[in-house]
Every structure is written in C-alpha cells, then in structure tokens.
C-alpha cells in the first residue's frame, strides 16, 4: 500500500492526513506532489498528520525535507503531527528533529501557527 493523503481545514491551517507508507516510488512522489500543490496555491500553514503512517524510508524523509523547504520558500510553515516511535527515531538519527516542529496534540499544533 502506498500513501493516501486527504486534506481538511482547521481554521486557516491545512491539515494533511497521511495513511500508509511514504517510501521510494509512488508513496514519496504522491507526498511531494501534494505538498507542492498546496504551497503553490498559497496555503501557508501546513500540518502533516503522520499518525497513520506505518513506514517511512530515507526517500520519504527526503520528501518531507523537500516539502519543508518548498513551503518555507513560499513564505509558509510545515509542521508535523502524531509521529510514531519509529518515525521519531528516524528524526533523531537524522538530526531532523532540529528542523521540524513536532506535535502530539492537533489543537496545540493548530494554535502554534497563530
């Protein structure tokens, strides 16, 4: 199973609910295209909900970093919500916890954009 992405608005924050695997191939490219589309159309507050993501490989991590850069370059912010222990471990190993703002609680994450 690749990744499935659905978006919803919580105030002026766009929450992207991801389900499945973000790995090299379809999963990573789906994620990349979705973030680019949102950034291009002017969404500036993006919260990626990874609660239902079972697997991310280095390509998936790369797309998350690329998405972060794309959104930042468009004057926006991209933050992460609901990381599993495995994804947290990946961010620790790669030192990306110093790059991403990470939240456990959606309401707190949405408030942080204000």
């Amino acid at each position: 199973m690749s990744v499935k992405l659905t978006t919803r608005q919580v105030g002026d924050v766009t929450v992207i609910d991801a389900t499945g695997r973000i790995t090299l191939g379809e999963g990573a490219s789906t994620f990349r295209d979705a973030i680019r589309d949102l950034a291009t159309k002017g969404d500036k507050k993006l919260l990626v909900n990874l609660s239902d993501v079972s697997y991310i490989d280095s390509s998936g991590i790369g797309e998350m970093v690329s998405g972060f850069t794309t959104v930042t370059n468009h004057g926006g912010q991209l933050k992460l919500l609901g990381l599993s222990k495995r994804v947290k471990d990946l961010l620790q190993i790669t030192k990306l916890y110093t790059v991403f703002e990470v939240f456990e609680d959606e309401a707190a994450a949405v408030r942080s954009f204000a």
């Binding site: 280095s58 970093v65 030192k95």
Partner: protein, 139 residues
C-alpha cells in the same frame, strides 16, 4: 548455517522481494518486531542504493542477495554491478549545511539499524554491502 542466494533485477520490485525474503529468514531466527523493522529498513535502503545508484536501473545488471542464518545472527550481503563509490566522498548528512538536503541519509540509517556494516568493492565490479544483526539475548 543456512544460506539463501537470489539474483535480482535492477527494479524497485526487487526491493520488496529482497525485504520480504530477508524478513522471512529473520523471523525464523527469532528476531522480534522492532528488530524486524530495523532489518527490513536496512535491507530496503541497501537495495535501493544497489538498484538506483549502483546499477542505475540497468536491465542488464543484477543485484546479488545472500542471506546467512545462524542461531544468534543474520548476515545479509547485497552486491550490485555498478561503478562503485567512495564512502569518504559522500557528504555528511548530519552536518548543519546538509540537513536540508533531500537525499543522502540511506547509509546513515543502515548503519543505525544493524550491528555490523561493511562496504567493499565487489569482484569483478560494483559495490558489496555486508550487514550483520545479532539476536538480542533474552534477559
């Protein structure tokens, strides 16, 4: 000691085949869920390197997968037929200036998830990666 040898095409399908095969062997040895995840990820990243960066999806080149099972460890050897690379020439993915690079984290993850990791020039050409994961002793 039991051994599995597979010759795989240079496609992304081979990444899944290799991961499934190694996980099957790892389960038989008795690795638990978290260790299985780490082994699967190390194999996946190594296979991606072999298919994408080593063989560059070349249909004439193969990826060689060997799995050696022992009661206390799993040894996985993955070799491509590419041009090889110098590990020392790769940018450090943990350096501040490289944190926002899109790629270059695969080897870092592999080394984090296995107990032994060696890269050497394969014969007659290409890169051979040897990984060992030890079964944690029951406490």
């Amino acid at each position: 000691m039991a051994e599995r040898d597979i010759l795989l095409d240079s496609t992304l399908d081979s990444v899944e085949i290799a991961e499934d095969a190694v996980l099957h062997d790892a389960q038989e040895i008795g690795f638990r869920e978290e260790e299985l995840h780490q082994i699967g990820m190390a194999v996946r990243e190594t296979m991606v390197n072999a298919v994408v960066h080593g063989n560059r999806y070349n249909a004439r080149k193969k990826v060689h997968l060997s799995v050696l099972k022992a009661p206390d460890r799993l040894t996985v050897v993955i070799a491509d037929e590419g041009e090889g690379f110098d590990m020392n020439s790769l940018p450090n993915p943990l350096a501040e200036e490289n944190l926002l690079r899109q790629s270059g984290r695969g080897l870092l993850l592999i080394q984090a998830f296995v107990d032994e990791f060696q890269v050497r020039r394969a014969q007659p050409g290409g890169t051979e990666v040897r990984m060992v994961k030890y079964l944690a002793k029951a406490s």
